[in-house]
């Protein structure tokens, strides 16, 4: 199947490994991935902060770039949620594409680590991803999945909320980090690099805490693929 990738601006600039992992998994399953190079940003941050006009221009830009593609994949729950609400594009979060469209639960990955999973708010409540990411992770060889206590509590990121209400955001982050540390996991996985940037920034200050990782990177890992950064 031919699949167009919307990598998202954040992954492009700061977390390319999430995009690379998405490409790796899909190509390993025999699909063709295309990357329309004119893509930039979906406009989510502008829209959520109240900048409707620039957000609309960015949304129209994504629509123009991806016009004519039958399946678009993106490794970001919140950007997919935004595009689904504001455009008519056939865009899937990676786990929706793998589970619902491609029917691939076992993607041939191996990851010999203890992993806990944080379901991010847009994936949970807008996209209703439910257990799709967990089913994919459960099928990974040698991976030990542990429950994250109070997993459905928001991590406190909220885009510009993290700056405008920094103290409240920090308090929510502290609780999320404490729950993550309590799992004793090596990695905390999620379907959104923006939440991971925030949670990971907090975990980095807590000795012995799990490391943040996009779950696509776990799905991309194979015995021969070397150490995860």
């Amino acid at each position: 199947m031919r699949i167009a990738l919307f990598v998202t601006c954040l992954n492009d600039a700061l977390f390319p490994q999430a995009g690379i992992a998405t490409v790796t998994v899909l190509e390993r399953l025999g699909h063709t991935v295309e990357f329309p190079a004119a893509q930039t940003c979906c406009g989510q941050m502008h829209a959520n902060t109240g900048y409707a006009a620039p957000a609309r221009e960015l949304e129209r830009g994504v629509e123009a770039v991806f016009a004519g593609h039958d399946a678009i994949v993106s490794p970001s729950g919140s950007c997919v949620a935004h595009l689904r609400t504001h455009t008519g594009l056939p865009v899937y979060e990676l786990s929706e594409l793998l589970v619902d469209v491609l029917g691939s639960i076992d993607v041939g990955a191996s990851f010999p680590h203890r992993v806990t999973y944080h379901p991010t708010c847009h994936g949970l409540r807008v996209l209703r991803l439910r257990d799709r990411p967990l089913r994919l992770l459960a099928a990974v060889r040698r991976l030990e999945l542990v429950d994250l206590p109070e997993s459905e509590q928001c991590c406190g990121f909220g885009g510009t909320f993290a700056l405008k209400n920094a103290k409240v955001s920090g308090a929510m982050l502290a609780d999320k980090c404490a729950n993550a540390v309590a799992t004793g996991a090596d990695y905390l996985a999620a379907a959104d690099s923006s939440c991971l940037m925030h949670i990971g920034g907090g975990l980095a200050r807590r000795p012995g805490a799990p490391r943040p990782i996009h779950y696509a990177e776990i799905l991309a890992a194979t015995p021969g693929s070397g150490p995860v950064p």
Partner: protein
Amino acid sequence: MSRQLPIVARTPFPRAAGPQLADAQLRGNLRRATRTIRDKRAAVVAEVPDWELLRDRAAAVKDDVLDRLPQLLAQFEAAATAAGAVVHHAADAARANAVVADLVRAQGVDQVVKVKSMATQEIGLNEALAAVGVTAIETDLAELIVQLAEDTPSHILVPAIHYNRSQIREIFARRMPGFAADSDEPAVLAAAARVYLRRTFLAARVAVCGANFAVAETGSLVIVESEGNGRMCLTLPDTLIAVVGVEKLLPRFADLGDFLRLLPRSSTGERMNPYTSIFTGVTPGDGPQRLHIVLLDNGRTTVAADPVGRAALRCIRCSACLNVCPVYERVGGHAYGSVYPGPIGAILSPQLTGQDAGANRTLPYASTLCGACYDVCPVKINIPEILVHLRQAGKPPAAERAAMGLLAWTMRDRRRWRAALRAARAGGRPLRALTRRGGGRLRRAPWPLSAWTAHRDAPLPAAESFRDWWSRTHGR
């Protein structure tokens, strides 16, 4: 009237949240209480197979009310008047307070008993009555605690949620006439309040209440409560004054059924609430012989004219959205500076007052847009959507506007975006070298990013952007 309404925040939300966050006792009290109600609600909602259908129907009924507000108000007034009630209209808080004060004074009393009511909180009725020498006594237990403590409510349903029981015993010991118990057992505290209130009920000649619902078809008012104090106020005094927000209307009596199923499960986590009072006009020789109904607008007609924001008027004040809100759970109700706290407060207060009132403009930003409120709302108010809608009318600082504008300009064009990525990567190179031991993350950054690094490390631009990786590996 120059007094500020209790729905106008005096302090910007981020600043008001600070001391609340630092109060470990408060956070403990809130965490325990919200979780208990949250779990109870989830359990009883899961029992109802047609819950989603109920929500859809209730939302549709409320939207219909908003579409036909003037017509239904006229119908309600005609029916209530025919049944013996006197209907008054109040365009704003000052007018409503004046009407109630005149009615109370006409009875020659200096004390009234009150059923818990958000509408009277919203207009600051107790303070307005005090100004003309009338004492209003709250008879709902939690509301009474707050009143005795000379505090303000911090939750719609559980106004004293920020106190634990030993704090409540202290308040009673200090302020309740005749209180002598030295135990903080809930049963002991409730018994003390009951003795105190019983005396008050028996002496009361005028009661003030709100209404959960007002039925246009029959002119009936409906009050839902748990303690029986409301039933006392609605039956013992001979004058009853109800202050009712115009959005409380339901078209038909038959519409009540769905709402009486939705409300208790959403608010207290009960299958049905203990006391439901439905009363229509005056019945000679039985109950109050004078019923006055003050229909309160106070900004509601303006809100109803906003195609997106109007959904906030569907609210039935169940407070489920407060109990699941991660922001409310950490800061409590007082940080919102309004008798309407939490997610509903963040969309209702600024709409009722206009965003320029006090610091109300900061309220729509007091959310991560996590959506937990929308999931539980029994009348399906898309709170995140309204928060974003209100942010669009915001007046952000010039520096923020400039930064967002520059970012959007850069991102509108692939060449500018690619150039920006390369510049960021080049700028990040020395930082990456410096922070290698810290895993390539930034621990401290200058303002405005210091708001970020106060709580978490910041990432650095990747050594190779995704698009450069793509050109290198898949390029033409």
